[in-house]
Symmetry: none
Subunit: 406 residues, 2 copies
């Protein structure tokens, strides 16, 4: 029996509202031993006031010591066990550029590479060709024609692009063609199950035609395909939680992840996302009556951390703090502030460290935390917990879960 | 490998004694933000002294955010994973009224309902007919005769009663006949596996005869059957822990749950339960030499919580505290005080909040807790832990578990 087996049978009707505000990469580290983290440094009077009313803790995105990407990090926050719901890289890459995968799609991430006259790989990333040069090449590959298959080719960054094959019944289990070595030719695509044989044949033909179209290019005269993946089949928020859920996100990746669990993407106007936090809050206010659950994604705590810019991350946290009164003015029954993982500017990357997490409701048990930051969360009433349990806690605090067993 | 695979092979002989005192629904909430819970309000000098000697923590009955009924709550305390050992509603209802299910029994909870002339349900609960009217009707149904089957009909409360079919080889997997709607007839019983086909036939015939016997009744002229369930098959305390266990409980539900794991029910005299806490302690003293493990159930911390009576719950906790010296006078090697779940009077219901838990032995590691209550337990040495681990800790502290691996 997994968590969704429980919530699926226990969720009950209510008109309560839940807001989950995800500050990407929120958790941090000090620059000096014993010093203060970004969140400890930031002036956050509004979050601190919420910490005094609510219950705090540190969420472990996947397992202790495991650093998640955005996919597993968000799935866990959404209550989907990130070790059960594995999203292939192809699907994640497609999602990240805003490509909406359909039920008949198989996606793969591709790299341009450099081949020698014998067809052996000289450079697996085509000399990290820049995006301006590579994008027209990716678009050129849209000329590939394979009967019975719709093909999408989308540029990504530098040597990367995405290919999606669309046809009924395609399996997504095809091995990578990247040999992870130079001096050898790319591998042929190999299916690992019966349902994926046709996919492998299509990929093989795609590579044949694409290589012709690239002939004569100096850097990018070949390609490899990796992370083949059919559209992940996740149960929806409506089904497992009984929630009508809305996502208010700026970047395609987070909208895509939200869409995978059945959230509706709401924006400034149909098809146009809010761009600033202020705009995101306006969208929240406009849609308040229409949904039970709101996922708000704030990107910049992560990007400043990735840049190694401690001061900028502090500033972004303070920007977030200033926005809180507009959220609390709506009187959500449950308000959660958390992150999908830590991104300490000290490390300039995602990390495994516990993520400061705060839950406010009228029936959370107070824990004496006075501020919202890593050292208070460590002593908080939520303890250190796997992020996948957060949604169950949200539902419980919102009065949306019946008793288990008599 | 589950917990019982470990304890089953590791338990060792000893003459140590373990007492587990379960104050039902012990955990609470403050009435005002930042205020004190029932347990924090109560004067508990004896429990506080034990907290200074022992180790404290908060137990999570099932998983974070999941509110358990009495069944899963107690099974977890007894060391049985409540998500593995699911007890059907029929068995739990029978257990709750003191019916001792045998190995050839299938139980179902039944509702009287009101049918119109066409046999369609008008009221699924027969107008919530009162117990004085419904009990004689349930007893009338004892006239049903089906060859080869022994049938038991027991009144419960209001529109509810329990039916048990006894015959060799009956399966318990039959779907509910309650259509969960009015304006339609009750469903026919349908078996979901081969072993339960005969059970469904018996239920069908029972309903046919019962409906005849109820003809002419104004409110309760029909019935529905739900939660069909064979006797749960749980490994015994003797087998998994090597413990001769005694249960000292007032209410049938808790005696029934204890019986399911092989505890013996001990009382004032054969067949007569102790009624007050004083009487329960007398029973504990009388039986001290005969058992290794004692489960004592104290109901009133839950019932006062369910009533929303904060002051009465405080008083019941103080009553429990006054009883502690009589328990400690027996010098148990391990003394545990806990609850099966929280029942905050603020919520007037069971809840998901962590349950204050205390373990005292001569080899627990002291944690500096000064009082026994929610805020001390949050900082305690047991941390926040799933209740199913408590029995393993009890056995370890009692010197009853050998080393795992060489």
């Amino acid at each position: 029996m997994d968590l969704h087996d429980l919530t699926r049978t226990l969720h009950s009707k209510s008109d309560t509202k839940i807001v989950m505000l995800v500050a990407d990469g929120l958790g941090g580290l000090p620059l000096e031993p014993g010093g203060m983290t970004e969140l400890e440094t930031a002036r956050t009077p509004n979050l601190d006031a919420l910490a005094r009313r609510g219950i705090s803790g540190l969420s472990i995105p996947v397992k202790p010591g495991i650093t998640p990407g955005s996919g597993p990090g968000h799935l866990a926050l959404f209550g989907y066990d990130p070790l059960k719901y594995l999203i292939g890289r192809g699907a994640l890459e497609a999602t990240g550029i805003g490509f909406e995968l359909g039920p008949n799609d198989v996606a793969a991430r591709c790299n341009f590479c450099t081949l020698d006259a014998a067809g052996h790989i000289i450079d697996r990333r085509a000399g990290r060709i820049d995006s301006q040069q590579s994008a027209p090449l990716a678009i050129r590959l849209r000329q590939v024609r394979i009967p019975g298959v719709e093909i999408f080719v989308e540029p990504v960054k530098e040597h990367r692009f995405v290919v999606v094959f669309r046809a009924a019944g395609l399996g997504g289990n095809v091995l990578d063609t990247d040999p992870q070595a130079t001096g050898v030719p790319p591998l042929r695509p190999v299916a690992t199950d019966e349902a994926s044989r046709r996919t492998a044949e299509i990929a093989d033909e795609f590579i044949r035609q694409a290589t012709k179209l690239l002939a004569g290019e100096k850097k990018a005269n070949g390609l490899t395909m990796r992370g083949f993946c059919a559209r992940p089949n996740l149960p929806s928020y409506e089904e497992v939680y009984g929630l009508r859920a809305a996502a208010i996100a700026v970047y395609p990746m987070y909208k895509g992840l939200a869409r995978l669990v059945g959230m509706e993407i709401v924006g400034k106007s149909p098809g146009i996302s809010a761009q600033t936090l202020d705009e995101q809050l306006a969208v929240l206010e406009q849609n308040w009556a229409s949904y039970d659950f709101f996922f708000i994604h704030f990107k910049y705590t992560d990007s400043t951390g990735e840049d190694g810019n401690f001061a900028a991350k502090v500033q972004r946290i303070e920007e977030l703090d200033k926005a809180m009164p507009r959220v609390t003015a709506l009187n959500p029954d449950v308000l959660i502030v958390t992150g999908d993982h830590s991104t300490p500017s000290f490390l300039r990357s995602h990390s495994w460290h516990g993520v400061p997490t705060l839950l406010v409701s009228n029936c959370c048990r107070y824990d004496g935390c006075q501020e919202f930051n890593e050292r208070n969360c460590l002593r908080g009433g939520l303890g250190q917990f796997e992020a996948k349990h957060l949604m169950t806690l949200a539902l419980a605090n919102a009065g949306r879960l019946a008793k288990f067993g008599a």
